[in-house]
Structure formats: C-alpha cells, structure tokens
Symmetry: C2
Subunit: 224 residues, 2 copies
C-alpha cells in the first residue's frame, strides 16, 4: 500500500483542472466517485461492503486523511487496491491533489474509483475534484438536521446515502424528514437509506452505481 | 435570540488577539469554553444537560454554524441566553469572530460561556479562540480511531468528552483504547465518558467544570 503526501494544488483554476481530469477518466471508462461525509459516518465500512457485494466491478480506493493509514489498510485487506493520501493538514481534496492521488494508483483495470474525501461536511463541498459522481454520507447518529446546517454539501451531491440505519431504533432520526430537507436543497438528489452492517438497502445503491458506471462508459464509447 | 454574521478576522495576529480576549474575560471572572467536535456528536444535547444540571452556574452559549438557528433555539428553550453565529461559510471560529460573538451577548451575569464551534474536527483546532478551556467531543458512533486521524484536536484539548455512551452496546467502540490513544497525543487530557441522555458520567464532568471555573475566578481575584 502506498502512502502519499499531497499539499494544496498550486493552480488557481481548479474548476478547469477538474473538468479536464473528468474527461480523461471518462475516455478511459473510469468513473470516479467523490465520497464525502463527517468523520465517523461509515465511509470505509460502506466501501468495504460495496467491494464485497460487487465482485464483478473492479474497484480501487483513494483514502484521504490528515494522518494514519487505518482506512487504506481495511480496504487492502479485502483485496482491492488502496492508496492512502495525506493532505498535509488540508481539510479537502482539490483536482490537483486528486490527480496526484490517481497517479499513485497502479493501473489494475479498476473502473470504479472511490475517492474517500477528508471527513468534513464543509470544505470538501467547495472543491470540484474531477469526480463523475459526488456522493455524500450522513449516518443516523449524526441527526436529521444536517441539511439545515451544511446545505452546500447536500446541494452538490448526486446522492445522499443515509448509513447505520440499523441504529434507527436507538436514535431520533426521521429518514423521510431528512430526505425532504435534502430534496428541498437539491430536488435531483437520490436518497439511499442503508445499513452496511445488515445489508439493508445496499442492493438499491449498488444497482444505481452499476447503472451510473454503464452510462458513463456508454457516453465515452459514443464520443470515441 | 440574536443571529449575527461574522466573516474571517481581518487581523493576522490571531494568537495575540486570543490572548488579549482571554485576559479580558478572566478579569471579568468569565470562563469561556471552546467546544469542538464533528457534526452530530451531540454538542447541543450535552450543553442542554449541563444547563439543566448546573442551575447554580449562570451559563450562556454562542452557537457557531454555517447556517440555521436550530441549536440556539434549543438552548433558549431552556432559559439560557444563546446567540447564533453564522460564519459566512468559514469552517472555524477565530479570536476576532469570537469577540464579535461575545459582544452580541447581553451581560446577564453569565460566568460560564460556551462557544459551540463549527462541527469539524480539523479547522477549529488550528485557531485559538481566546477560550480558557478547550473541550472536544467524540461520540461513540464515530469510532475510537479518531485520535489517529485527527491528532491536532486531541493535542489541543484540555478535555475529551466521549458522548452517547448509552449507544456502546450497538457500536464497536473501546473507551479505554480511545482514551489511551488520546493520552498518547496529549498526556494531560482529561477523559469523560458520558451519556447526556441517561446522565451517566455527567456528575464527574460537571464537577470538573465547577472546579475549573472556581480556579479561573480565583486566579483573576489574586491578580486584581
């Protein structure tokens, strides 16, 4: 497993860099998914489940953290390629940092590449990473009021995955209310309540990801 | 309830501003506690419990968020003064922003003033707010690996409050391991496992806060 250090991107034109990166990935038939959430919402556990449940799709993971390599180690234990990215204290990933991270991945034919962004509901939403899909996670113990407090991330995400639904009996969390609050900010957002522990709801999320990957690759093939 | 907007402090000398603010508060016998955590860790619920459990100490609260006023409304419903601070997208509070927030509080004789910082484990740790105590919260559902990933916040905090311990039966979280990881970064850190829901462990935390307030005020009286 590689551990790389990436600092802030030197270029000010992050949006342009991100668009370019996205097109390069599309031409290669690779869909990058930017996974954002607060710390401890279960990003790595969700990825572990996806890797186990979708053996027909080759998955690679880039784990961005301030420090440690615990998440990348968990992913590698499942047989998927993982690269641990240290952000030099930065609370987000930008397109330049993401490009450097992608270059640290070996080309093993992975078609679905997850960028596990830094655990933070604010800064990551402000930077386009070049991902084809932005997916955010909100876990049940965090509370259903988060769309009210961190609207930008809900506005920017294609999908909201509500994790740890197995804990619903122990916390006050109204899934429908949370989904409605998210849709008020972003009417197109897809909402997937799941438990990576029990498997509840995972099939719907996995089907959606398979469909998105197929559409992404079909779009690239059509243009080629 | 007031809602104020504060942008980034114009001054570069945050450390000096913070030290000055701290001394001003000490001269007035007011202890400001900077409360930091990830989103959804239970900061407002903990504060609600402290307000109910410590009627002999007049408490005021400054709630910093990107948007919404839901937290300040919860505090005011308990009869304590609260001011909602909107940070104009900033993921932290600095000393200048904190001073502006304190000025928005009416002088009602509050001696213990909590600053509920923006929900984020990274940026708030980087800025001295002028608080006399830095207290961080980690909730059980977030996982016991957080000291490995966000070391700076554990290094900077005087106390670590582990919240939602009532959820320990449902999550893998080793309180002793987490405390040991925190102490490795910061041998002086005090660790308080609590459940604001059941009240478990709250008495120890409250006694510690009472002691800190008394010492703070005694120090100011001695110097006067």
């Amino acid at each position: 497993m590689k551990i790389i250090n990436v600092g802030a991107s030197v270029t000010a034109s992050n949006d342009r860099d991100a668009a370019l990166l996205r097109e390069e990935l599309r031409a290669k038939g690779q869909l990058m998914v930017n996974l954002m959430s607060a710390p401890g919402s279960g990003k790595t556990t969700l990825l572990s489940r996806l890797i186990k449940d979708m053996p027909e799709v080759k998955i690679a993971v880039m784990e961005a953290d301030i420090e440690s390599a615990v998440d990348a180690e968990r992913i590698e234990a499942l047989g998927a390629q993982a690269v641990q990215v240290h952000t030099d204290g930065m609370c987000h990933m930008d397109a330049g940092m993401t490009r450097a991270s992608l270059e640290a991945l070996e080309d093993d034919g992975a078609k679905l590449i997850f960028l596990e962004n830094v655990g933070n509901l604010i800064c990551p939403a402000e930077y386009d990473t070049g991902a084809g899909l932005d997916m955010m996670i909100l876990s049940v113990p965090e509370g259903d009021d988060k769309p009210l407090k961190y609207p930008l991330m809900f506005e920017k995400s294609n999908a909201l995955v509500i994790t740890k639904t197995d804990a619903l009996p122990y916390f006050r969390f109204d899934v429908e209310l949370c989904a409605a609050r998210a849709r008020k900010l972003n009417p197109a957002i897809r909402v997937f309540p799941v438990s990576a522990k029990t498997g509840d709801g995972m099939a719907e999320l996995e089907d959606w990801l398979r469909g998105k990957l197929a559409a992404w690759q079909a779009g690239a093939a059509k243009e080629a």
